[in-house]
């Protein structure tokens, strides 16, 4: 009998746990350790942040799902992993701690939202709102509606949306948010009372941390930057790119850019800036009681897996698809895996840049919900095969240089007037040796319209259904 412990219940953790349960007999144990009582469907928090969806519509209780599926549930935060002795120390939410033993461990703990990396950033100790947790998204929605009230009274309001650090990722969520704000304000007849500005670390609009993309349109092959800029132009947004936010004060964001290390300031009444991501602060302790976190994790705390971490130093022009991990197995402890955002990427996908003072500015590689699901799935299949005696090493692979991504970016929530950009690319990491434009143009496209919103709305229900492990859940792709 084997015991698999999954840390985290996001897209990666939940997908891994459901697939493990499906692939393993009842004599094997699957246990999820998570601080959450509810699963949260993250993509719809954009709508919560503009007051167009109640946060409860994005959540469901985990306990009944785990009970029905026969998955163990430890409601707490993993604090320390003891990889030589195969156990995790967990701080329980109800108080106290629990020692959770494992034969296989899947770390799917997602990101630590590193607000502390930028002084004054974030909703708890800073001056900006966030849509990265359900509570923060609900608070953002309330703050946003206060801005609406001010505009209704005839005031002009300055809004600043984007990323709050030179190494941030998740520009797609900020892109969705800025467009949802514009859509909502336009519907209320208030868009001309808002001065909306985009501030991001991308070298150019449409980079999204994947080095941008080229799509086929009307017989032409066109840079995605043109469409991203056009979508901003249509709503009258201003944009500042290649920026690292150095400090946020009440109503003021200080930043430097790739072109200038001079302190520049953008004023705001309302700001949502995505923080840098780091690994969650789990310690790895060896049998001698020594902290080996620095050996097992990248400097940002994300767990190292089967990527080539020596490749970063070789520089952008020498990066190859082989740098990217395939099995997500830790190379020191073969029974530990990382899935979703928690694995350390070998290097960015976008071309790194820096401010004149040397501050690095590059959109970090995104690991979207789809990528998190795919990785959670292959890790689960590999572990199940090893437990079932079908393999003695992980055989299921999914490299970001070999799988694609489909992203439906909401640009307004309404079943009759809404819109979304439907973007698909294959592969996520461009491969210029194989494809002229880095990606297979047959499976790479972008478009915008009402059907995109229908798709986004459908995905909301489909994935909540899947994550509940309801009848036929495995038929829904990751």
């Amino acid at each position: 009998m084997a015991k698999v412990v999954v840390l985290g219940s996001g897209f990666a953790g939940q997908t891994a746990a459901l697939n493990l349960r499906k692939s393993l007999g009842k004599d094997h144990e699957v246990v999820v350790v998570t601080p959450n009582k509810k699963f949260g469907y993250v993509p719809s928090w954009v709508w919560v942040g503009v007051g167009r969806m109640d946060v409860s519509e994005t959540q469901f209780e985990l306990a009944p799902v785990y009970k029905r599926m026969g998955i163990g549930y430890v409601n707490g935060l993993a604090r320390a992993v003891h990889p030589d002795d195969n156990y995790v120390m967990v701080d329980l939410l109800e108080g106290g701690e629990e020692k959770v033993e494992y034969d296989y461990l899947i770390n799917a703990t997602g990101p630590k939202l590193n607000y502390a990396a930028t002084e004054g950033l974030g909703p708890d100790h800073g001056h900006t709102v966030s849509i990265c947790t359900p509570n923060h998204a609900a608070e953002a929605g309330e703050e946003y509606l206060k801005m609406v009230e001010r505009m209704e009274r005839g005031e002009e309001v300055k809004m600043l949306i984007g990323t709050g650090h030179g190494m941030a990722t998740c520009q797609g969520a900020a892109f969705e948010y800025i467009h949802n704000i514009a859509f909502d304000l336009e519907e209320r007849g208030l868009l001309d009372r808002a001065k909306i500005t985009w501030l991001s670390n991308e070298q150019a609009l449409g980079d999204f941390g994947v080095g941008g993309m080229v799509i086929g349109k009307g017989g032409y092959t066109v840079s995605g930057k043109i469409f991203a800029e056009a979508s901003f132009m249509e709503k009258g947004f201003g944009w500042i790119t290649g920026a690292h936010v150095t400090k946020v004060e009440e109503g003021k964001a200080h930043y430097i850019t790739i072109d200038s290390a001079e302190d520049q300031v953008e004023e705001f009444d309302f700001a949502m800036l995505i923080p840098a991501f780091a690994g969650v602060p789990i310690k790895y302790i060896n049998k001698d009681g020594n902290d080996i976190t620095g050996e097992l994790c990248a400097p940002n705390g994300m767990l190292k897996v089967d990527a080539d971490y020596t490749s970063a130093a070789k520089g952008f022009d020498n990066w190859k698809k082989e740098d990217w991990p395939e099995t997500y197995q830790n190379q020191t402890y073969g029974n530990i895996y990382a899935a979703g955002i928690s694995f350390a990427p070998p290097h960015p996908i976008s071309k790194p840049a820096a401010a004149p003072d040397g501050t690095p500015i590059v959109a970090s590689p995104p690991r979207t919900g789809m990528a998190a699901g795919i990785i959670g799935h292959v890790v689960a299949l590999s572990v199940a095969d090893i437990i079932n005696g079908k393999a003695d090493k992980p055989v299921h692979t999914a490299s970001m240089a070999n799988f694609g991504a489909a992203c439906v970016a909401s640009m307004g929530k309404s079943m009759t007037k809404g819109s979304a950009a439907v973007i698909a690319m294959f592969p996520v990491v461009p491969d210029y040796e194989r494809f002229e434009y880095g990606r297979d143009m047959d499976a790479t496209f972008g478009d915008q319209g009402l059907a995109g919103h229908w798709l986004k709305a459908l995905l909301h229900h489909l994935f909540i259904y899947k994550m509940k492990g309801k009848f036929g859940w495995w038929l829904i792709p990751d």
Partner: protein, 51 residues
């Protein structure tokens, strides 16, 4: 909201204003049903390539 074209500005450099027909197609239900089907097929293709 109507964005004003002002030459030599950031907005002017990114100018790609949809005309009435382009705007109509974005929310035309019949056309969008066709698009919805097309998007699903394209996404299935992307998913299939990765497996």
């Amino acid at each position: 909201m109507k964005v004003k074209y002002t030459p030599y500005t950031q907005l002017a450099e990114a100018w790609m204003q949809p005309g009435p027909f382009a705007k109509f197609t974005r929310t035309c239900v019949l056309w969008q049903i066709v698009k919805f089907a097309a998007y699903n097929l394209k996404i299935i293709k992307v998913v299939a390539k990765g497996h």
